[in-house]
Structures are given as structure tokens and as C-alpha cells.
């Protein structure tokens, strides 16, 4: 694949969200598992909103503000089952205009 850079934040900027400030609906259960036990860290490239970021020190951080609520992160974390996944509180999260 040729190298192109895609800024997913620019894409997400077009979307309509009602962020439930202070109440992330997805949580990493145990951050140490991501850092030390998970090698692939596939959530950091499979998440279509790039909510999961691999940091320089090998940790994985999660910011759910841009979440598209697809569920991929939960399903692919089969080896570690380390994603605590719920839907956002009613009325919050992504609000598709066209769908």
C-alpha cells in the first residue's frame, strides 16, 4: 500500500456528536494488559474513529469522544477481553445525520 496520510479527526469533525462529558461509555479494563500482554494492539489501527492510540511508552490510551459505536474494539479483543463496552447514555454519542 502506498503511503498516504489520512487525518481521521478531519473526517470526524463533519459528524454530529453529543458527547456525554465525563462519562466515557467504553473503558479499558486493565491498562497494564494493553501495555504488557497485548503485542498486536489491533484496536489502535482497526478502530474506524482512531479512538485508541498507541503511545510512545507502549501504553494504549482511549478517548471515546469520536466513537462511532460500531463495536469492533470489543469484538477484536478476543485474547484479552479487556474492553468494557456499553452504549452511551440515551441521546448521547454519535448522531448520524444521513446514516
Amino acid at each position: 500500500m502506498n503511503a498516504i496520510t489520512v487525518n481521521v479527526e478531519e473526517k470526524l469533525f463533519q459528524n454530529r456528536y453529543r458527547v456525554d462529558t465525563g462519562r466515557p461509555h467504553i473503558k479499558i479494563k486493565n491498562a497494564d494488559v494493553c501495555t504488557n500482554e497485548c503485542v498486536v494492539k489491533s484496536c489502535t489501527f482497526v478502530c474506524p474513529a482512531s479512538c485508541y492510540k498507541m503511545e510512545g511508552n507502549g501504553t494504549v490510551t482511549l478517548i471515546t469522544d469520536g466513537c462511532l459505536e460500531c463495536g469492533s474494539c470489543r469484538i477484536i479483543c478476543t485474547e484479552h477481553v479487556n474492553v468494557d463496552w456499553e452504549y452511551p447514555r440515551g441521546g448521547h454519542g454519535i448522531l448520524f445525520k444521513f446514516g
Binding site: K11, S42, V46, G71, R74, T78, G91
Partner: protein, 436 residues
């Protein structure tokens, strides 16, 4: 601890399956509560989207009068793409351009809102912005749902789970396990707006008619999946979806949005979407496990419809019509059970399964029962084949002084170089068998 039922039925979710179920029950005079977590019906829902008229016709025969339909499809293109070219078929017929039309592009957020207005006209109560946290059990029977609001418990004789592909409620209740990554596709899509005239010119269509392009090949970076481009009234939906397990195991660690961006830059696609203003970027899972992945779909006081039950025909890219049909059949089962004064235990709801078995839903899913496995075991369908075909086509039509017979030999040699003859024959047989 069983509370008295406040409703005959609760429907969780206001997508096509939930709306079909709520509409059918409300029409029959049942007291229905429908609970949707989005701000409005459709605000959490994503589809390409193609609407097949038939399933909706059986629920709302005159839907064409006021449903928000974008364009009816008069042309279907199937493209195989290599790095910088495509080979394809275009099927276009005036037969598709005569009402009543059979297929339409729609924008789901608008369509679901419309469908929901019909559901409410039929008499169902809808509450939005409310997430159902879990099912309420009385022993082994579902008797209601618990929502994320204060005093959030509500009770009904039966709960229809139309809560989408993640099937959160049934999963939490232990009705079925997590969907495996190999049984679900992750699709991303953008909606690109452009003047209506531009769409008419670029796709050679009229004011109301439109084109569908389905694509396989290099665009999926070796993963099992397809790309699509649909024409709406004044926008284009463009997307790509691959099996989630393939995304996870992709050695290139290609992100879905990068995949889509690359597809948009393909020289065969870029001119079609040039100048389009991206106004929404969406992602969604599609249950593609097919027949073998359908879970138990009813039990004591509960039924599953739509994506939540995995009702998608991946080969024909059909989902919403299966969803509506499952919703309708589940509703009819409830209506019959109610009329019979049943206790809504599993035995009184099994008519749902047999009605499904008799319908196109299970018949089609059965017909293609082995397709997902065959395709998945043979990634060449998505990788080398499109390349080979494109190469072959180019060789045949390039006028360069080489005779056609020699060219055929070249093509054949190229095919064999890429894949052994026995493999080619075997593939053809497998594919034929899988989608026959």
C-alpha cells in the same frame, strides 16, 4: 417479583426490524412501547443504503407515496479493480426505470425517521434518547427491560430485541455468545455532497434514477470485502467493508479510514467523486456469518429480529429487507399468541421460527450457507483474481500488433503463473457451489 405488564410488547430499537415489528403489532391493536437510544430514530443507524421494495411493501404497501427515497436503481455495475484499472459489467435496463421500482437508494437517518412516524401513527409509543441497560428476568422468563433513566424499569408480556448487530441485550442475558470477528464485517462510509446536475451527468441518469457500483479487488488490501458507491439525490455514498477478523490480522495494519481514502483515490473512482463535499463519516458492523451463525432467536418472553439475530445475506448485500421481514414475522407471532391468550413462553413463540423457515429469509440464508466459509478460505477471490482479470482484459484490448490467439495464450499463462490450473478449476467449482 413479576410486575404487571404495562405493555403487550416492548420493542428495543427503532431501525427497520424494530419499526416493522412495532408497526405490525400496533396496527393489530396491541399496546406497544418502542425504545430507541438515539436522539431520533435513525440517528444511530448506518447502511449503504439500498432499500428493496418488496419487504417494505408487505408492511406499508403505499410507502412510495411519502417515504424519503433518493433514487431508484436503473443500473448495476460490478467492478474488479487492480492497482489502477477496473474490469466490469454494467447492467442497465429501461425495465428498471418503470414504476413500481424495485430498488432505491435511501439515507437511513431520514428513512428510519419516516418509518418511525408511521409506527407512531399506527399507535405505538416511542421514546428516544433512552438506552436499555439489560433485560429484567422473572426466573427464566423475560418480563421487561431496565433503562438508563431514573425509575427505568418497564414491563411487558414480550420483549422484541431489535437492538442491532452488537446484540448487547441478548449477549448480556446469555442468550448467545459474542459474535466472532470472522463472522462480522466492518464497513466505513462517507457521504459526499455534490450538485444534483453533476450526479446526473457523471452517471448518465435522470432526475430520479441512479446507479450502484459494487467493487472487489485491490481496494480491500488483501482482505475479504467489497467496496460500493451509490448515487443519492444530491450526494454519493462511498464505502468499503472487510471482515473484522481480516482487519485485525492485516499485516499492513491498515486502518478502515485509510482503506477508504485509498479507494477514493483509485483512478477509476476519483473522477466520479471529484468535488464532493464530505459531510459525514460513518462506520458500522454487518453480521455476515450467514445461516450457520444464526443464534437461538426466541425464548421465554423474548424474540430477536434484524441484525441482532445476524439476518444478513452477505452475497446479495441484503439486510434491511431481511430485518423488516423478521420484524414483521415476530410481530405476527406475538399477535397470534396474544389472541390465543398464550403465556409467551418459548413454546408459544416458536411459530416465529417456522414462519422464518418458510420465508425467503431462511431459504436464502440456507442457499448461501457455505459461501462465507468458502470465500474466507480462498482469499484469492479478493486479491489475485481481480488483478488477473484486469490484466487479461487490458491485454485483449490493447492494439499492439500481437495476434489475439497469442494474447489468449499469454493471459492463460499469466493465470497459471498466479494460480495452478487445478486451483483455478477448483475455485470456480467452489464459488459456483457456494453461491449456486
Amino acid at each position: 417479583m413479576k410486575k404487571t405488564s404495562q405493555f403487550d410488547a416492548i420493542v428495543v430499537g427503532a431501525g427497520p426490524s424494530g419499526n416493522a415489528a412495532a408497526y405490525t403489532m400496533a396496527k393489530a391493536g396491541l399496546k406497544v412501547l418502542q425504545i430507541e437510544r438515539g436522539e431520533y430514530p435513525g440517528s444511530k443507524n448506518v447502511q449503504g443504503a439500498i432499500l428493496y421494495a418488496n419487504a417494505l411493501e408487505q408492511i406499508i404497501p403505499d410507502f412510495r407515496d411519502d417515504a424519503p427515497l433518493e433514487r431508484h436503481i436503473i443500473e448495476q455495475r460490478m467492478w474488479l479493480l487492480d492497482e489502477n484499472s477496473f474490469v466490469g459489467t454494467h447492467i442497465r435496463s429501461e425495465d428498471y426505470n418503470k414504476p413500481p421500482y424495485n430498488r432505491y437508494t435511501i439515507l437511513r437517518a431520514q428513512f428510519d425517521k419516516w418509518f418511525s412516524s408511521k409506527v407512531r401513527e399506527a399507535g405505538a409509543l416511542l421514546i428516544c434518547e433512552t438506552t436499555v441497560n439489560h433485560l429484567i428476568m422473572d426466573g427464566d422468563q423475560v418480563v421487561g427491560v431496565s433503562c438508563d433513566r431514573l425509575q427505568g424499569d418497564v414491563f411487558a408480556d414480550v420483549v422484541i430485541l431489535a437492538d442491532g448487530v452488537n446484540s448487547t441485550l441478548a449477549r448480556k442475558a446469555g442468550f448467545h455468545p459474542e459474535i466472532p470477528a470472522g463472522n462480522v464485517a466492518l464497513a466505513v462510509k462517507e457521504v459526499l455532497f455534490m450538485p444534483e446536475e453533476t450526479i446526473r451527468q457523471r452517471f448518465n441518469v435522470g432526475e430520479e434514477s441512479g446507479v450502484v457500483i459494487e467493487m472487489i479487488g485491490r481496494i480491500t488490501d488483501g482482505m475479504m470485502g467489497t467496496g460500493f458507491l451509490y448515487t443519492n439525490k444530491e450526494s454519493i455514498a462511498i464505502g468499503v467493508g472487510c471482515m473484522l477478523g481480516d482487519f485485525k490480522n492485516n499485516p499492513n495494519r491498515t486502518s478502515p479510514y485509510k482503506l477508504l481514502e485509498q479507494m477514493k483515490r483509485h483512478p477509476s473512482i476519483a473522477p466520479l467523486i471529484e468535488g464532493g463535499e464530505m459531510k459525514e463519516y460513518t462506520a458500522h458492523l454487518i453480521p455476515e456469518g450467514g445461516f450457520h451463525a444464526i443464534p437461538q432467536i426466541y425464548g421465554n418472553g423474548w424474540m430477536i429480529v434484524g441484525d441482532s439475530g445476524g439476518f444478513v445475506n452477505a452475497v446479495h448485500r441484503e439486510g434491511s429487507n431481511l430485518a423488516m421481514t423478521t420484524g414483521r414475522l415476530a410481530a405476527e407471532t406475538v399477535i397470534a399468541a396474544k389472541a390465543a391468550g398464550a403465556d409467551f413462553r418459548a413454546a408459544s413463540l416458536k411459530g416465529y421460527k417456522s414462519a422464518l423457515d418458510d420465508s425467503f429469509v431462511m431459504k436464502d440464508l440456507y442457499k448461501y450457507r457455505d459461501t462465507p466459509a468458502v470465500l474466507h478460505k480462498n482469499p484469492q477471490f479478493f486479491t489475485s483474481y481481480p488483478d488477473m482479470v484486469a490484466q487479461a482484459a487490458k491485454t485483449m484490448i490493447t492494439v499492439d500488433g500481437v495476434d489475439k490467439k497469442t494474447k489468449e495464450r499469454e493471459i492463460f499463462a499469466n493465470f497459471r503463473k498466479t494460480r495452478k490450473l487445478t486451483g483455478l478449476v477448483g475455485d470456480a467449482y467452489k464459488l459456483w457451489k457456494a453461491i449456486r
